[in-house]
């Protein structure tokens, strides 16, 4: 019988960084800002997760992915805790993450979490295909809750815009 060695927080985080966002498979759950922390308890590892949107249907899958991935690495004593505060924001995405989104065909959030109720639409959304700012909004709600649907008037391509949040 193999007795599992205690793992460090960094170990756990590095294992979890292999888990991709099921909706956007080019970024992992840490890059997107959902994975907040790992708390080492005496008897278990507690993974702190925050949802991007309250009703995000990917949350259940991500929780299962976390437990399954840890189990695959010999860790069966893990739990996942959902926290709402501080509320997830697209500000947590790094420039490198935004570039990955762009290469995947999703335009990244333009400005930091907009507090103004009357101008949820950013001034200039950049087309991820041709880089033009000559774009227009088709719909505030796109293929998933976190995205809006835009059209590029330069290259005529429709594309997803990751809304600032």
């Amino acid at each position: 019988m193999v007795i599992a060695q205690p793992r460090s927080k960094e170990d756990i985080l590095s294992i979890l960084s292999t888990i991709k966002d099921p909706e956007i498979p080019v970024v992992n759950i840490e890059e997107i800002g959902m994975l907040r922390d790992v708390v080492l308890h005496k008897d278990r590892y507690e993974i702190i997760l925050t949802p991007t949107y309250t009703g995000c249907p990917a949350m259940g899958i991500i929780q299962q992915d976390i437990l399954a991935t840890l189990f695959f690495h010999g860790i069966s004593n893990a739990t996942v805790k959902l926290v709402y505060a501080p509320a997830w924001t697209t500000d947590w995405m790094s420039d490198a993450t935004k570039e990955k989104l762009r290469q995947f065909g999703i335009s990244a959030p333009v400005h930091s979490s907009c507090h103004n109720f009357h101008s949820a639409q950013p001034e200039a959304v950049i087309c991820p295909k041709c880089g033009s700012v000559n774009t227009s909004l088709i719909s505030q709600f796109g293929s998933t809750a976190c995205k809006a649907l835009y059209r590029c008037k330069n290259c005529d391509e429709p594309f997803d815009y990751f809304k600032c949040h």
Partner: protein
Amino acid sequence: MNQQNALYTYLLRLGDSALIQSHRLSEWCSRGPILEEDLALTNIALDNLGRAQALLRYAGEVEGKKRTEDDLAYKRGERQFYNNLITELPTGDFAYTIAKQLFIAAFESLLFTELSKSKDDTLAGIAAKTLKEVKYHLVHARDWCYRLGRGTVISNSKLQHAVDELWMYTGEMFEMDEVDATLLKEGIAADLAPLKPKWMEHVTAILKDADILLPAGEFMQTGSRAGIHTEHLGHILTEMQYLQRAYPEAIW
């Protein structure tokens, strides 16, 4: 009324409004006037469902009887629901749904701004998260009010009709009773009285820009705080709770 009971009831009111509104919006699935609106309305339904889940889960914890969010959603009867009446009214036509969304989102943007400052950390956390989502709901409703109101004679008259029909259900959103009073003292609940003039100002401005006349009627319907509903809630629950009623404890 003790604080625990008051908080439990308060959370049910917030959670039930989100749940029932979500159910009504989900009725648009595959029936939207255009594909983009089909997606938009169901996305908003999803936001509401997530909010309902978080609030009802917390309500179950506060109650302390080990009831989950599913127990609360599927195993309470009509008289034990406390959603605002406006959320349970039938879907109606697209203009009716948009007018409903405008009234509700304008209210919720003010409500959750206040609740994000609540001294109850869990409630404040859910409120701060919700606020970000409601902002998009409000912009969505506002923009459609402009399009319908300034569109054709028919689209304008449909929106005007919807606004007139729904008006008497808007007053109830601001009602407060001993539940609110108990929690206000502790800095947990939101004081709705000062929100009403702000709501009125905001909604009036949008409707004016949309060439829609503000209804003159002053009669306001009431009842949900005491669990008294329109005939429509029973029909929603019949559909929503069918599976758990027919096959108790079923999981998949």
